[in-house]
């Protein structure tokens, strides 16, 4: 225990004297948590719409104003030539073209039937898909309004309509930041821990001090604990700042579930991630090497964790990778406990799996860390 005390004292002194590490510990999490969730918003707004109106009637005006007033579209161009509008799309000034044919009003009134044409710029798939869906929905509503106008004037209702009323649970106002902040917080803690832990040990290799440690009778176990504990503490600290300061004050996120449960999982998760950092450091000789390997893992962890994209909609092979990704489990736990208020029995499996990761990474790292080469 006495040896561990000396190791910890040394580590903390070095961390607090490191001028590039301190901003990384204190500033990066706060900035990332404030900037990233605001930008990582999936709701598609500001779709540039170009309308080609060959009719210029009351109904075409009505439809146009209904679409614009939905708030999702910006009218970028209003004309009567499809060719012009297509040019707009080519120049990336418009995302969507709605063509209203000649005789639009006349045909609706006389023949009860009219076709509209929508052309979508599908380079940005999400924007195109959602934009197309929005405008379809608006036109459908417009259609219903028309129908009701006509039918009501006949004073009897022939067509039964099903109206859907939906209620959003756990995130009533579909606030995107509620979904993103807990996930981004997980990524942040992961990043700081893996990078700092692996770089710290490899740095000692580079400057040669690890050699000096290896000729002392110090035990492997002590040395590793001396490295893991400081970063574990920093991880918990960053997480707390993220959850209670930024999360609460900036986004108004108050964990619905038990915060103690989140911390219990965090503790386990940090042990697993620090083990991975340690493992990377045992295979790397230079800081560049460690950095590149850690970066590779971070990319996979980020994109395959269900942070941005839903795991359920991934292909089978990708699901397997996502299920082997420790970040996936913590993001799930965060969303479940913080937003939904899940309790221990809901996330029991997550605990078991994370224990597995912790044991795997750490024992692998300890086996691979050798005092004698």
């Amino acid at each position: 225990m006495r040896i561990l005390r000396f190791l910890l004292q040394k580590e903390f002194k070095q961390i607090f004297r490191n001028k590039s590490l301190l901003p990384m510990i204190f500033l990066m999490p706060i900035i990332q948590l404030i900037v990233m969730p605001l930008a990582a918003d999936y709701e598609v707004k500001n779709i540039n719409l170009s309308i080609v109106d060959h009719d210029h009637s009351t109904y075409s005006q009505k439809l146009t104003s209904k679409i614009i007033s939905s708030g999702y579209f910006i009218l970028s161009d209003y004309g009567n030539s499809f060719k012009n509008s297509l040019q707009q799309v080519e120049q990336d000034k418009s995302d969507l073209i709605l063509e209203i044919p000649q005789g639009f009003e006349k045909n609706i009134v006389r023949e009860n039937k009219q076709k509209l044409f929508i052309a979508v710029n599908a380079i940005n798939g999400t924007k195109a898909g959602l934009g197309g869906a929005y405008i379809n929905n608006i036109i459908f509503n417009f259609n219903n309004d028309l129908r009701n106008d006509w039918i009501q004037s006949m004073r009897y209702n022939q067509i039964p309509t099903i109206e859907i009323v939906s209620s959003n649970w756990f995130n009533t106002f579909l606030n995107y930041t509620f979904f993103m902040v807990p996930g981004i917080l997980v990524v942040l803690v992961t990043m700081v821990c893996i990078y700092m832990c692996s770089l710290n040990i490899v740095k000692e290799k580079e400057i040669g001090t690890i050699e000096q440690i290896n000729v002392t009778p110090i035990k492997k176990f002590h040395f590793i604990l001396g490295k893991l504990i400081p970063f574990w503490v920093i991880g918990v600290f960053i997480f707390s700042v993220g959850l209670f300061v930024v999360g609460r004050l900036v986004y108004g996120i108050i964990p619905v579930g038990n915060a103690g449960l989140v911390y219990a999982f965090l503790s386990l998760y940090l042990i697993a991630m620090l083990g991975l950092g340690l493992l990377i450091s045992t295979y790397s000789e230079t800081q560049q090497q460690a950095m590149s390997v850690a970066f590779f893992f971070m990319m996979v962890f980020l994109l395959m964790s269900g942070l941005f994209t839903s795991i359920d909609s991934m292909p089978e092979w990708a699901k397997i990778i996502a299920n082997c990704n420790p970040v996936t489990y913590f993001i799930e736990v965060m969303r479940m406990v913080v937003l939904k208020g899940s309790n221990f029995s809901d996330i029991k499996n997550h605990f078991i799996i994370m224990t597995g990761f912790a044991v795997l990474f750490n024992s692998w790292a300890i086996l691979n860390y050798k005092k004698t080469s």
Binding site: R2, F6, K10, G208, Q212, N214, T372
Partner: protein, 247 residues
């Protein structure tokens, strides 16, 4: 004083096809200053790393301070000090913090650490520098400090790998004064160097060429054997035959 503290028997280290150290056999007695000479790439550092338990030998046997080099590395580590080619104190810790840290991990009690660090600082004339970061010290001072830290726990043997590389002649003399005083206290000194004047300070020296020990005797006897006036000539005589290129 005739106790043998280092004894190697055909100690060999291979890296693939390359034999870095080939069947090295020698003995070092307690309290001796043993010079370990050779050109760059001759295998000195490899041999020393094996003796310190940093590197596993490919074959052969050795005992350090009476402990087996394969089975009792941790016991060996309690009884040796090591100062590597690279400066290996923590540059971002102060002088006193480095002393405390290394004292602490060797299990020296707080009281003893305090006493020892006081005498050590006095001896090295670092009184005004105790709270300065080691990074800010001149190289010569760093090396003296590193040596003092390496023998803080009073080891039986201390291994020094080119301890005076890049140090000015005055500081080198002071460094050797430290070595002599450690030797007087009964610490065996195992030192590699490229300076032939330093070789003359050793009780006995061995010359390594291409991973093999080519000569081993006192400086006076070696000069006689090669009918040379200085150790420089002895070195040239032996190293001339080297096939390996220096690194």
């Amino acid at each position: 004083m005739n106790e043998i503290v280092i004894k190697t028997d055909k100690l060999t280290k291979r890296f693939g096809n390359f034999i870095a150290a080939n069947e090295i056999t020698f003995e070092v007695k307690a309290g001796e200053i043993f010079g370990f000479l050779g050109a760059n790439g001759a295998g000195k550092t490899t041999a020393m790393r094996m003796l310190c338990g940093l590197s596993k030998p490919s074959s052969g046997n050795a005992t350090i301070a009476g402990f087996d080099i394969y089975k009792e590395t941790e016991k060996i580590k309690k009884n040796i000090g090591y100062m590597s080619q690279k400066f290996s104190l923590y540059e971002d810790l102060t002088v006193i913090e480095n002393i405390r840290f290394f004292g602490g991990i060797y299990g020296i009690s707080d009281k003893q650490i305090n006493e020892k660090s006081n005498t050590l600082i006095e001896q090295l004339g670092l009184k005004n520098e105790t709270k300065k970061l080691v990074a800010s010290l001149p190289l010569g001072w760093k090396q003296k400090l590193a040596f003092s830290v390496a023998i803080l726990h009073e080891p039986k043997i201390v291994f020094l790998d080119e301890p005076t590389g890049g140090v000015d002649p005055v500081t080198r003399r002071q460094f050797w004064d430290l070595i002599y005083s450690a030797s007087d206290r009964g610490i065996t000194i195992f030192v590699t160097t490229h300076y032939m004047d330093e070789a003359e300070y050793c009780n006995r020296i061995s010359m390594m060429v291409d991973g093999v020990i080519k000569a081993l005797d006192t400086p006076t006897n070696l000069k006689k054997q090669f009918s040379a006036d200085s150790m420089d000539e002895v070195f040239f005589e032996l190293a001339r035959g080297a096939k390996r290129k220096g690194d």
